[in-house]
Symmetry: C2
Subunit: 329 residues, 2 copies
DNA sequence: TATCCGAATTGGATCGTTCAAGACGGCGAG
DNA sequence: CTCGCCGTCTTGAACGATCCAATTCGGATA
């Protein structure tokens, strides 16, 4: 190939000035149609692509979004992040943004990474997955007016910043109602210790659905850290204590454990997991499915809304999960 | 906050010229120590960070590496990509590079994405995970002298381009030898249809280890597409046909299926999977473990070697897997 | 016919960095 | 003493895009 194709090359080829080419790209409506077509033609013929670095230097915007990739803790639930990232990349691409990855081992380092990314790469925005109570990261970003969205509600202050989340309570409530409709009454719940917003939310959905049906949930739930072994242990405990006929779990890991515990029961105890991970699909575990692709898309929507100065867009999005029915329910 | 801190700000503050500051950053050895310290001091005091866009415009290098994130097919093996990406991000970071994500639904689009990424972002290099026979993507990149590394050997021409891979044959051979040492003789293998380099490699390791021990592998192997159900089906078939006492599988998905098929056998049939996914760890499945973090690190090494013009570095790296022993073996 | 108007186009300046070339002082050799 | 060299530092130009102000041009108006 010959020389690098710049805006000047295109301008010469279309016999117009650089500025006109720039206008065709950034403000097509102010260019006469005939001229515009000639320029567009030259762009295609020459295979011109606007140099992002030069554009960024002038405009101060990089069209880059940062997302964190975490060390895989538990591959079962880890695939959630994986799928979310994929969706994010796809939607961001369509909106003209690219996704840059970063990692950090703790909050302090993560914040110093923000500083670095903002300083050297002039990132346009951040996407955080999951936040804690009193998260120092969101505080840092908000303080500096850096655009960001979280996937996951800030449980302590819902209006603190834009977020996208999936209504976990609605998911577990729906699953519970499905089981109630199938005739179950002793429907147990295995979840996480109180205090995590997500876990409490999921438990609340189950409890509300039972109340709604006039069933007393007392004694029907157990709490533990996430994990297959933990799920199995608690399910055995439940079987011995209250002999539930069905169980809703806060994660697929817990549900897989429960599945191992109920093996051989007759009639089979129904099990419903959460996240609809590929493992659940593989073993036929019914599970509550989060619309991760859509969640990612709405994150990008929110960000572009902020970045393009459109303050009309809502800043909070709560999506509804669906129930993936399989032979365990 | 005040003005943006540029190299000129630092220069004024340290009472030197812009170029001297630039030299402190890029060629410290040509600056007198006293001056260097004064400049470094100013940099720290002011919190200066070199603007990547400006640097890129001058040097033509973006310090950005592209990696593809694929739609999760099978969450069990999908976590491999996940872990690899994490390692890549971490090591690239340490080497002063950042990882940019992209997706593409087919080869043609992927190539056009390359074109776009190179044209607009001036990417420094690509990391491809897995290649096919006669891969059009590597051909395209090689033709244009774009630096890239693949994680996975190009099976048809080992010298075609730099790669990092894990010795699958050594992994299955090691697993097979472990089983032989435990007294097993009828050690089966469940793998993928001939033709995929990875699958053939893994099968060869098992076959060689058996030959080495004087065991005839005839009839002891089965081939199928990847998946839990497929693994279960083939394992039942093997049990009925040749009653193996152990089985080595080409993936954890197949091994999980095999595990379901052998339930209740006495003495228990040993099962060893491949990839040591978190699911394997969770259910206690023995599995061959790929050093993904190291693989990612070596990919970055190879790339920086090429990018920094160091042609001394080897261009092919073959890493040894290890055997994660758990109660299924 | 002269004047004015607004749409379309033009040239110059600018963003922050690195490259290329040159300036400056001190030192040793001729 | 002069010359050239070396180490150190400075100055001007360039990368490729966008912003800004100025200019051209065709057509409408007086």
């Amino acid at each position: 190939m010959s020389e690098k194709v710049t805006i000047a090359t295109v301008a010469r080829h279309a016999r117009v000035s650089r500025q006109t080419v720039s206008n065709v790209l950034n403000a097509p409506h102010i260019v006469r149609e005939e001229t515009r077509l000639r320029v567009e033609d030259a762009i295609n013929t020459l295979g011109y692509r606007a140099n992002q670095a030069a554009r960024q230097m002038r405009t101060g915007r990089s069209r880059l979004i940062a997302a964190r990739i975490e060390p895989t803790r538990d591959g079962i639930n880890g695939s959630v992040l994986d799928r979310f990232l994929h969706g994010l990349t796809e939607t961001a691409d369509a909106a003209g943004y690219r996704v840059l990855l970063y990692t950090a081992s703790d909050d302090e380092r993560e914040i110093s990474t923000y500083d670095d990314l903002l300083g050297t790469y002039e990132l346009d925005a951040f996407v955080l997955v999951g936040t804690k109570h009193g998260d120092p990261r969101t505080a840092w970003l908000a303080e500096r007016d850096v655009p960001f969205v979280t996937f996951g509600r800030p449980w302590d202050a819902l209006d603190a910043h834009p977020w996208v989340d999936v209504d976990g309570a609605a998911g577990t409530a729906g699953a519970t109602r499905h089981l109630l409709a199938a005739g179950h009454r002793r429907i147990a719940f295995i979840g996480w210790p109180a205090g995590s917003g997500v876990g409490d939310d999921r438990r609340a959905g189950w409890r509300d659905a039972l109340h709604e049906a006039g069933v007393d949930p007392t004694g029907l739930h157990r709490e533990t850290e996430d994990g297959i072994a933990e799920g199995e242990r608690l399910m055995r405990d439940l079987l011995a204590a209250v002999a539930p006929t069905a169980v809703v779990c806060a994660s697929d890991s817990l549900a897989l454990g429960a599945l191992q515990a109920i093996r051989g029961t007759d009639p089979p105890v129904s099990v419903i997991g959460f996240d609809d991970t590929p493992v659940a699909a593989a073993v036929g575990l019914a599970s509550i499915s989060q619309p991760l692709g859509e969640a990612a898309a709405r994150c990008v929507d929110l960000l572009t809304g902020v970045l393009d100065g459109n303050h009309e867009t809502p800043t909070h999005v709560l999506l509804q999960p669906s129930l993936a029915l399989r032979h365990t329910a």
